[in-house]
């Protein structure tokens, strides 16, 4: 592993209407690493991800991608910076007026300035990667939740991101559809994609990650290997949280 982390979040704070949503959060991701953020809702996980790609600029602190400070970038450079950070949302946010193929192709055309034919070719290749070539002409409303999330993965991957941010990618899915999305994410991770993922899929997280970050009330409370999650209610905060989750889901 190189000495310099690919993504470094440094002392990020975010205050909205006088409420501290993020309180001095720092973390770093090495090339090819997958880190998982868990924690109760309202703990600032989603806000953290949106601060990482400056969708919500942090009130203080900075984000470095490949050593470059996001805070010092001009507006245009921030757009270029965001291209390098793929983002996956809980509720997919596919563009409802475009078919699956054009959902993937449009940013290539309009942001990267590629020719239509080339962008579409790339889009089809990405859809093939997530197993959706046959659904390429369908509109978002005609796709299942799992298919929608896979299209959104293809859409992010088409931009050749250096890092992927995944914000509870399976939380809005029916239980039987979670597997197909997790498969794609696991494949991506194995192929060396650097990823920061918020999820409640503890079992999945345990398998793929070497580090769990537990967030609560806007702060990173615990960080450590997946074993951090074990120990039940008497263990640390993260373990107690996991025990509570297991109580509900029965796992």
């Amino acid at each position: 592993m190189s000495a310099q982390p690919l993504l470094e979040v440094s002392h990020v704070s975010r205050i909205i209407d006088g409420k501290t949503i993020l309180d001095d959060v720092s973390l770093s991701l090495g090339r090819g690493e997958l880190k998982v953020i868990i924690g109760p809702s309202g703990g600032g996980k989603s806000t953290l991800l949106q601060c990482v790609n400056f969708l919500q600029p942090p009130d203080s602190g900075d984000v470095f991608l490949d050593g470059q400070s996001a805070r010092e970038m001009s507006r245009q450079n921030i757009c270029a910076f965001r291209q390098k950070i793929g983002m996956i949302f809980q509720d997919f946010n596919l563009f409802d007026h475009l078919c699956a193929r054009d959902n993937v192709a449009i940013a290539l055309q309009k942001v990267k300035g590629q020719k239509k034919a080339l962008a579409r070719q790339r889009a089809m290749a990405e859809l093939e990667r997530v197993g959706l070539v046959e659904q390429a002409h369908l509109y978002p409303s005609q796709l299942s939740g799992g298919q929608k999330q896979r299209v959104s993965l293809a859409r992010a991957l088409a931009m050749d991101p250096m890092v992927m941010l995944l914000d509870e990618p399976t939380s809005a899915l029916d239980p039987e559809l979670i597997g197909e999305v997790l498969n794609v994410i696991a494949q991506l991770s194995r192929s060396g994609m650097t990823m920061l993922m918020v999820t409640h899929q503890i079992g999945f997280a345990r398998h793929l990650t070497k580090e769990i970050i537990f967030m609560e009330a806007g702060r990173v409370v615990e960080t450590g290997p997946p074993e951090l999650l074990e120990g039940g209610p008497e263990g640390g905060r993260a373990a107690a949280f996991c025990a509570k989750l297991a109580e509900v889901t029965g796992r």
Binding site: A80, M87, F89, N93, I106, K110, Q142
Partner: protein, 260 residues
């Protein structure tokens, strides 16, 4: 006796030709009315669309300007606007041009009518588009930004194509209102349907027939325009977007037996 019937029938005949001539004169106003309304709708669209995005996505000062615009043009009658532009603004423009270039230009009542109706329509159209933009999930804009779209790119390529589709039904409503508002333009002497009808009734006194004819022409134009816009809506409809989603729900909710 024979003489009398011949005279009578020729009288009726003469009356009929007279009416058909004046009816033809009135009907020729249709072209003016159509041109007037098309010009006003396009001007309203060209101004209303940016205004709506200013109001939703603009900086504070831009939003304030939009607010003032919308309230000004929604707040004063079209008739006042017509006089204001034709007798006020046009007069200033004409005299300024004369002072500067020593040429006389004369701006027509038709231009004044297009501008007055267009500016007013822009205020209403901006509110139509604004409503449509706000009805879209916030995640659409966010996802575009996350992909590296600039604000204006996201608005042009992601937000407006959806918002404009959602706006067509309200837009056809705006068309039918504006069409009938356009009758006001007769006061300046624009030779559209209403002005021609007024002119003809003052000489032939065939009030009922001619005004009914004018009403019929407006009715046909409304019907035609709404029909065309409905066709456009159907053509550009996307599965699951906006009214198509409602349509699908209708089929679920409104089965006859469910009503009892």
């Amino acid at each position: 006796m024979e003489f009398l019937t011949a005279a009578l029938s020729s009288d009726i005949l003469a009356g009929l030709t007279e009416f058909s001539q004046s009816a033809l004169f009135v009907a020729r106003g249709t072209g003016y009315t159509v041109a007037l309304i098309l010009g006003a709708m396009i001007l309203g669209l060209a101004l209303g669309l940016p205004l709506s995005t200013f109001e939703v996505y603009g900086a504070g000062w831009l939003r304030k300007i939009t607010w003032v615009y919308v309230w000004f043009f929604r707040g004063i009658p079209i008739l006042v606007l017509l006089f204001l532009i034709y007798f006020g603004v046009f007069d200033i423009i004409e005299s300024t041009v004369y002072k500067l270039f020593e040429t006389r230009i004369s701006l027509t009542p038709f231009t004044a009518s297009v501008i007055a109706l267009g500016l007013a329509s822009a205020a209403y159209q901006s509110q139509i588009f604004k409503g449509a933009i706000l009805s879209l999930p916030a995640g659409q804009f966010q996802a575009a930004r996350a992909l590296g779209f600039s604000r204006s790119q996201a608005i042009i390529h992601i937000i407006l194509p959806q918002a404009m589709r959602l706006s067509i039904p309200a837009w056809s409503n705006e068309y039918s209102i504006l069409l009938k508002d356009s009758a006001v333009a007769y006061v300046l002497g624009t030779m559209e349907i209403m002005a021609r009808t007024r002119f003809m009734t003052s000489t032939t006194f065939a009030h009922i027939r001619l005004y009914l004819l004018a009403g019929l022409l407006y009715y046909l134009l409304t019907w035609l325009g709404v029909k065309v816009l409905f066709k456009i809506e159907a053509k550009t409809r996307i599965p699951g977007l906006g009214h198509d989603a409602w349509r699908a729900d209708d089929q679920l909710v409104l089965k006859k037996r469910d009503l009892f």
